[in-house]
């Protein structure tokens, strides 16, 4: 299934392009590279890419401008943003503008591999979804969108404010579907702190990869779902209720919620 996936990689450093090319080729993808965003724009018209990996901080056109152009020209192509200047703002902005994923540099082989894998699956699931909607496929693999009163960070995590002032945090069904077969969840300890836009949990999958979950809010963790240890697949079975990850006391609710998107704004999440 992989050989037909072309990946467009944009970074202003040749060494990174080379390294990413090596990793992706070894995984069976075809890679097209560009040293700047301006010259990458016409490539979008020439061919369809399976995944785009784009640096945020580049001379000339920056990653966010390119992301907007790419979303206009090829809305079906998932874009992964990568940056060496990994701030919370960059992460949150990338995901709210429309990137499917965000990986901070430097990354390892496995981190890149898992991100690209999730993006490829993301694209496939979305295509399937549109076929289900149009009736050309049965709905056996339908993605469950998150409930309307939840808010989400990109397509990966959700937060739901509770009446007691705490907030529940979890992963979206779409995210679980992109990682496939979770076998374990690494969480922070109760009393630990989670920060919006940074990794708050890692989900281990059958293939040995670790998939980072970016936290939708910042706060102090008061409780971790104990069922994750005994039955990790709960996040796939019931991602929005029984499969929650954390109960946390948010530190800056209003500001952070404003940066998230409401659930139901996308048919998938």
């Amino acid at each position: 299934m992989k050989p037909h996936t072309d990946i467009l990689v944009i970074d202003d450093e040749q060494v990174i392009l080379d390294a990413v090319t090596k990793i992706c080729t070894s995984e069976g993808y075809r890679v097209v590279t560009s040293l700047d965003a301006e010259s990458a724009v016409p490539l979008l018209d020439q061919q369809s890419f399976g995944v785009i990996l784009c640096d945020v901080m580049m001379p000339g056109m920056d990653g966010f401008s390119f992301l907007k152009i790419a979303l206009g020209k090829a809305p079906e192509t998932p874009v992964i943003m990568a940056t060496g200047f990994s701030t919370v703002e960059n992460a949150v902005q990338s995901l709210t503008v429309g990137a499917t994923d965000y990986i901070p540099k430097p990354f390892t082989f496995d981190e890149l591999k898992s991100a690209i894998q999730r993006a490829v699956r993301f694209r496939r699931i979305r295509e399937e979804q549109s076929r289900i909607v149009s009736g050309t496929m049965d709905d056996g693999t339908l993605v469950v969108p998150c409930p309307p009163k939840y808010r989400r960070l990109g397509h990966s995590s959700w937060v739901c404010l509770q009446n007691d002032g705490t907030a529940l945090v979890g992963v979206t069904h779409l995210f679980v579907r992109t990682i496939e077969q979770p076998t374990g969840v690494e969480t922070v300890n109760p009393d630990g702190e989670i920060i919006q836009g940074t990794v708050c949990a890692q989900i281990q999958t059958f293939d040995g990869l670790l998939h980072p979950v970016l936290s939708p809010i910042s706060g102090r963790v008061v409780d971790v779902n104990s069922e994750l240890k005994t039955f990790p697949a709960i996040i796939e079975k019931d991602p929005y209720f029984a499969g929650w990850l954390y109960r946390a006391i948010p530190t800056d609710v209003e500001y952070e919620l404003a940066r998230l998107q409401p659930c139901g704004s996308d048919p998938l999440t």
Partner: protein, 622 residues
């Protein structure tokens, strides 16, 4: 010249004094004049009576020679001008001035007018009408002229000499003039005296005023002017030494207070500026280093995958990958420091971390001939910490200690122990808010290194900002308005003005009203509103009771830190190592320890050594 306060004061006081002296002198001289004149008048009247009586018998006997002789003798006396006797026609019958005898005075002469101004002439003259003040010409001596009428008597008309007709009432007058130059001289003397006195008083007042103005006004003002110039030139540590209790003393104190505040504000500004540039630096460094690190990490992890069947390569590549990931974490922590994020805490044994830290620096210890002594408590329970960060703290402290050692080496002692401390004096408020959720923590004003709690207070007519000491149970508050002990304050949120007073709870110590603030996740922090009362209650930390801490001390026998430098050592970019250091070490350490809800303190004696004391709570607060 006239604009100077001293001169103006001298003029005002001097003129006032002169006016007062002038008024006193006027009345004084008038009284003197009156009393002296009265004395002369009395004397003159007495004299005329004496002349009348002493010549009476001679008159009756008509012994003109003797009368003339008597009058001449009287006229010789000092203080008497002319004595003469005139008959009804104005002819001088007798006179002390011999040449006058026989002359006839016209009736218009001042002496005669008293009676002859009216027709018929008065026949009787009251005592007070007998005297006249005469001044022949301007600038000459004044005279007092006394006329005493000589009345007809029975013995006169019946005398056998030359009988005066019995029906004539007045036979003639006795006219005596007395010069007043003695009186005038006394008055002139008195006037002169008064003038001299006024001039003397003016000079004396001027001297006294200028002396005290110089002492009380000019010198303090000059010092204040010098101080303001120094401040204008940027010397904010200028201190005015003269602090009296007068207004200028208050001004001086207020000036000192202002410069201290300014200096503090400048420090804070400087500090936040440094932190801001540190943040920019960290961000820049992160971006610049992360790109090359991406190359290393991707290639090495790629190679690791490619060489899965070559175990001899695998081991080495794993080291590269591991160390690159470590570099990534270091860069991230640099960003984290700029962002002040939280550490990744797990349960770890402090003693293990100390061992790892000492292994890292073991080479340096050998090279610099430094002996390392460990005095650890093997029973120390695990602590919830970010082991990497805490290791970094220990490594930095040991490296600092090594750098402080003299050439011939020295000794570093690392100790670990457990201690129990009550929340008073250890717990501190990190996040506080009013009931409307306005943040009250003010990082711009620090009290012993901790960001203070900023509230608005009103006491009496004064309103101002109070910076509360965030350390529970310590009371080093700072206030912008003068508050005296025992004064009750009304406490408000400085943002929205909502009252922080608690109407339900009274202070159990002094029954004054109390106020409270909300500490994020740690309940209410209550305090007495009476300034100076030390009642505070923080139930959520009190509930935990006495808490256990792991205490780690790092002592060295190095060069020590001077008293001036000691308060600055935890500031970013403060370095005693010159080009060798970045000045970030201790500020990073402080940030890490603070993020672990711990405290770090330092004691040092120059040339003897330094001890850093870190206390980490065994349980993180809930």
């Amino acid at each position: 010249m006239i604009r100077r306060i001293g001169v103006r004061l001298i003029l005002v006081v001097g003129i006032t004094a002169i006016v007062i002296i002038g008024i006193i002198a006027f009345f004084n001289i008038r009284a003197l004049n009156a009393s002296l004149s009265a004395e002369v008048e009395r004397h003159a009247n007495q004299l005329t009576e004496t002349v009348k009586h002493s010549t009476r018998l001679d008159m009756l006997r008509n012994e003109r020679e003797r009368i003339q002789e008597t009058i001449s003798a009287i006229g010789m006396q000092s203080g008497i001008g002319e004595v003469r006797v005139l008959n009804k026609e104005g002819k001088v019958m007798f006179s002390s001035v011999a040449t006058d005898v026989g002359t006839v005075l016209p009736k218009e002469v001042a002496n005669c007018r008293a009676c002859h101004a009216s027709t018929p002439p008065l026949q009787h003259l009251a005592i007070d009408q007998r005297t006249r003040l005469l001044q022949p010409a301007e600038g000459t001596d004044r005279y007092l002229a006394v006329i005493n009428p000589i009345y007809n008597e029975t013995s006169c008309s019946s005398a056998d000499c030359h009988v005066h007709p019995a029906d004539v009432k007045v036979l003639g007058v006795l006219d005596v003039t007395m010069p007043l130059h003695e009186v005038d001289r006394q008055i002139r003397d008195r006037v002169l005296e008064m003038l001299l006195f006024a001039a003397g008083a003016f000079v004396a007042l001027s001297l006294i005023i200028s002396f005290f103005v110089q002492r009380w006004v000019a010198r303090p003002v000059a010092e204040l002017v010098k101080g303001t110039q120094q401040v204008a030139d940027g010397n904010l540590s200028y201190h005015i030494s003269r602090e009296g209790n007068d207004e200028l003393g208050h001004l001086g104190r207020s000036f000192n207070n202002m410069t201290a505040k300014l200096s503090e504000a400048r420090m804070q500004l400087f500090q936040s500026d440094k932190l801001a540039s540190l943040g920019r630096l960290a961000a820049g460094v992160a971006h610049e280093i992360n790109n090359p690190l991406t190359g290393v990490l991707t290639y090495s992890s790629f190679l690791l995958k490619r060489t899965q069947h070559q175990p001899e390569l695998q081991e080495d590549l794993k080291v590269i990958v591991r160390e690159t990931i470590r570099s990534r974490e270091i860069v991230k922590s640099l960003l984290d420091f700029a962002r002040q994020t939280v550490p990744k805490k797990t349960e770890a044994l402090i003693n293990d971390i100390i061992d790892r830290a000492t292994t890292v620096v073991s080479n340096q210890l050998t090279i610099r001939h430094v002996e390392l002594v460990k005095k650890i408590d093997p029973q120390l329970p695990p602590v919830t910490v970010d082991a990497n960060q805490i290791q970094q703290v220990f490594v930095n402290l040991i490296v600092n200690a090594i750098d402080a050692m003299p050439q011939e080496g020295g000794r570093i002692t690392i100790g670990s122990s457990m201690l129990k401390l009550s929340p008073q004096g250890t717990a501190h408020v990190k996040k506080a808010a009013c009931s409307k959720r306005h943040a009250l923590i003010d990082p711009a004003v620090k009290i012993n290194g901790l960001s203070s709690i900023r509230v608005k207070v009103r006491a009496g007519d004064e309103e101002g900002i109070l910076h509360l000491d965030p350390l529970y149970g310590r009371h080093q508050h700072m206030t912008s308005i003068p508050l005296s002990a025992g004064q009750e304050m009304a406490v408000q949120c400085p943002e929205c003005g909502v009252s922080l007073m608690d109407t339900q709870v009274r202070c159990p110590k002094c029954a004054a009203a109390t106020f409270w603030i909300e500490v994020a996740g740690q309940g209410k922090w209550e305090s007495c509103s009476r300034f100076g009362c030390d009642w505070q209650r923080w139930e959520s930390v009190e509930r935990d009771g006495v808490r256990e801490y792991a205490e780690i001390t790092v002592s060295d026998t190095g060069c020590g830190i001077s008293r001036e430098e000691l308060p600055k050592i935890f500031e970013p970019f403060f370095s005693t190592k010159g080009q060798k250091g970045t000045g970030l070490g201790l500020s990073v350490i402080w940030g890490i320890v603070d993020n672990h809800n711990g405290t770090i303190t330092v004691e040092s004696e120059p040339k003897k050594g330094t001890t850093f004391r870190i206390r980490l709570p065994l349980q993180q607060p809930r």
